[in-house]
């Protein structure tokens, strides 16, 4: 059975070209970029090149890129730095639909005397900017709002948000882990102070991330020790991974158009066809601007894990917004925040495509999924009611 991988918002495959680029930096060119000798020097050059490549994708200056271990580290660094540079500001703003990398940290900070406001979203997953205007004040140290949501793909109006934040002098951070490489970004003309990205979401390996830190923004390092990354992130760079991230960013830049035309086309077709064939289904975040690769679709009266298991029997890998897969018992916090009715939230499935996704794979899902939903609805007492009515 050939696997059909449609869970790219969870993680992506390492592009062969990325792997080739990093390969020599394990057993041959294994020098430490901080060393004074030529052997380390050649690695340093390659790290510099990677930094430029990451910067290019973001429209940033290479000096504004700090390599980290992952998106989570970048998020933690940004938020912890902001509250340290503003010791008198005790307020943090984020959203209810944030990734745990931000949400858990913010909630933990309430135990240390910080006031945290979690902004609400509407049924389509959109923020209410008036709510933000009302809560941001002179006490706000940082506003951390994701660029695009990992579950629904909903994209937030980041620049408008940034304007509002700047008026109060707070720092603005965005977790752009899902957005980088999927939509065009340009830090040169942006209001973003700090931005987190993660390698394994854009065909680089796991365990490498970066933090964009705008020039002039005050900063306190999270990791201290040696002088790596201009003392902004101590610890010897994971050079091969850094080099891989650089290559992955370069390739992502080259594929941006493809992502927003061909990949988006496949996503739209999948969405259209499933909606047409399967009754009582809906798109989570359907009314909002979304990432080109993400489809979160809900099927009433069936439960997500059961759908995933049956899809998996057909070799199809997707993800679920249902609680049952994670061991927690409520639907995902994102769907709950959006007020998706329970009838749908438990039966939500996320398909996330990549540039390696093919039309044949999409065809396979369109063929295999409808009978799976039909079958589970026949088992479900509520689903049977629905089928009777039809």
């Amino acid at each position: 059975m050939k696997e059909i991988y449609l869970d790219n918002n969870a993680t992506t495959k390492v592009d062969e070209a990325v792997f080739e680029e990093m390969r020599p930096y394990f057993c041959e060119l294994y020098g430490n970029p901080s060393s004074m000798h030529f052997f380390g020097g050649q690695v340093q050059k390659k790290v510099d090149e990677a930094r430029s490549r990451v910067a290019a994708l973001l429209g940033a200056d290479p000096s504004e890129i700090i390599f980290t271990a992952c998106g989570t580290e970048s998020d933690n660094t940004a938020i912890r730095s902001a509250i340290e540079v503003f010791p008198n500001r005790r307020h943090i703003i984020t959203t209810r639909v944030e990734h745990p990398a931000v949400l858990t940290l913010c909630r933990n900070l309430t135990k240390h005397g910080y006031r945290v406001t979690e902004l609400n979203v509407d049924g389509a997953g959109r923020l209410d900017l008036d709510e933000l205007r009302k809560v941001v004040d002179e006490d706000t140290a940082i506003v951390s709002i994701m660029y695009a949501n990992n579950e629904t793909g909903v994209v937030f109006p980041i620049e408008e948000i940034g304007q509002i934040v700047k008026e109060k002098g707070a720092l603005f951070h965005t977790d752009a882990v899902q957005a980088v490489g999927k939509i065009p970004l340009n830090m040169a003309s942006s209001t973003i102070d700090m931005l987190a990205l993660s390698g394994h979401k854009l065909h680089a390996p796991k365990g490498i991330g970066a933090l964009y830190l705008r020039k002039g923004v005050p900063f306190r390092p999270f990791m201290v020790g040696g002088h790596q990354e201009k003392s902004r992130r101590a610890g010897t760079e994971a050079t091969s991974s850094v080099i891989a991230l650089g290559k992955a960013c370069e390739l992502a830049g080259q594929h941006l158009d493809d992502e927003n035309t061909r990949v988006k086309g496949m996503r739209d077709r999948l969405e259209r066809e499933l909606m047409a064939i399967i009754p009582a289904s809906r798109i989570n975040g359907g009314g909002a601007e979304r990432l080109p690769n993400t489809l979160s679709i809900a099927f009433e009266f069936v439960e997500g894990e059961a759908i995933l298991l049956l899809l998996s029997e057909k070799g199809i890998c997707a993800s679920s917004g249902s609680a049952c897969t994670s061991g927690s018992l409520e639907p995902s916090h994102v769907l709950r925040a959006m007020g998706v009715p329970f009838t749908c939230a438990h039966g939500s499935i996320r398909f996330s495509l990549s540039r390696f996704t093919t039309d044949e794979e999409i065809n396979a899902v369109i063929k295999e999924l409808p009978p799976i939903i039909q079958r589970l609805r026949e088992i479900s007492p509520f689903g049977r009611e629905l089928l009777k009515k039809q």
Binding site: C324, T325, L329, E330, P331, I379, S380
Partner: protein, 286 residues
């Protein structure tokens, strides 16, 4: 992905007895859309109204909920109503070769549906599990508001499955799995059940030499207690025994676990039940 046994997968992929029985003698319904799982169970009795000749189900839920329902219908066919009532959720799980602990509530749901069906058939008071059973009489105090579970129900599940942490109670019943507001109360219930279990404690040796006592303590720790902690990803180490004082140190998930105090109490209770009344357990950091 969950680590399901082949038997669970088999019953999920090819569930037995899906559907309804038009002239069923008893129908039991538990769960709801909001909870994420629900089960409707149909039972048909023989002409003498003694034995179950047919059972069918409809389930909304995850893989293990469907498999548990299928297993339940297979298990109760041929049984009298009383025999069927004796089927525990653990037996449903065993029939399937085991369920991940996080999914044990699926097996509890099967047992609940059966109780409701039989109670309805017999016309007695309906057992209260979930408050969304509309027509059910409220009995006992609701402990978990999110899932509508009463103290009586929770205590039964705690006792039957010998649960000793709030997390386990969540895995078995869902209580505590949403807002978590009921967790302190769940912990109280666990302590209460442990206390009750003490009263009808199993027989244990009358007089013990010191040497025998130490041996027994070690045996109980190895055979009774540690396996239970392992299943939670935890562990403990025996540090010392001085008279009736047993010093233990928690390891792995138990170390630094917020409810390790409860676990220590559980260990003490077990040792008192099975070895000697005067045992005091001390948790040491080592």
């Amino acid at each position: 992905m969950w680590d399901y046994t082949d038997k669970v997968k088999e019953h999920f992929l090819n569930p037995r007895n899906v559907g309804d029985i038009a002239d069923a003698d008893a129908v039991g319904e538990v769960g709801s859309l909001a909870c994420g799982d629900a089960l409707k169970l149909f039972i048909k009795l023989d002409d003498n109204k003694e034995r179950i000749v047919d059972a069918k189900f409809q389930t909304f839920g995850c893989g293990s909920a469907i498999a548990s329902s299928s297993a339940l219908t297979e298990m109760i066919k041929g049984k009298t109503l009383d025999e069927a009532l004796g089927v525990t959720n653990q037996e449903i799980a065993d029939f399937l070769g085991g369920l991940p602990e996080e999914k044990m509530h699926c097996s509890v749901m099967g047992q609940e549906a059966l109780e409701v069906a039989i109670a309805k058939y017999r016309g007695g008071p309906l057992p209260v599990h979930h408050d969304h059973g509309h027509d059910q009489e409220q009995e006992g105090e609701i402990v978990c508001k999110c899932f509508g579970l009463t103290d009586g129900f929770l205590k039964k599940v705690i006792a039957q499955n010998r649960l000793h942490t709030a997390e386990q109670v969540t895995h078995f019943t869902k209580a505590g799995g949403a807002c978590g507001g009921c967790i302190p109360k769940i912990k109280e219930l666990i302590a209460e059940v442990l206390g009750e279990q003490k009263q009808d404690a199993p027989k244990r040796p009358e007089k013990l030499t010191n040497l025998r006592k130490m041996q027994l303590i070690q045996e109980v720790l190895e055979n009774e207690i540690r396996p239970q902690l392992w299943s939670d990803g935890g562990d403990l180490e025996l540090i010392d025994i001085a008279g009736a004082t047993v010093q233990i140190a928690f390891r792995k998930a138990c170390a630094g676990c917020a409810s390790s105090g409860y676990t220590a109490k559980f260990v003490e209770q077990k040792l008192r039940d099975l070895v000697s009344d005067d045992i005091v357990v001390e948790e040491v950091q080592q």
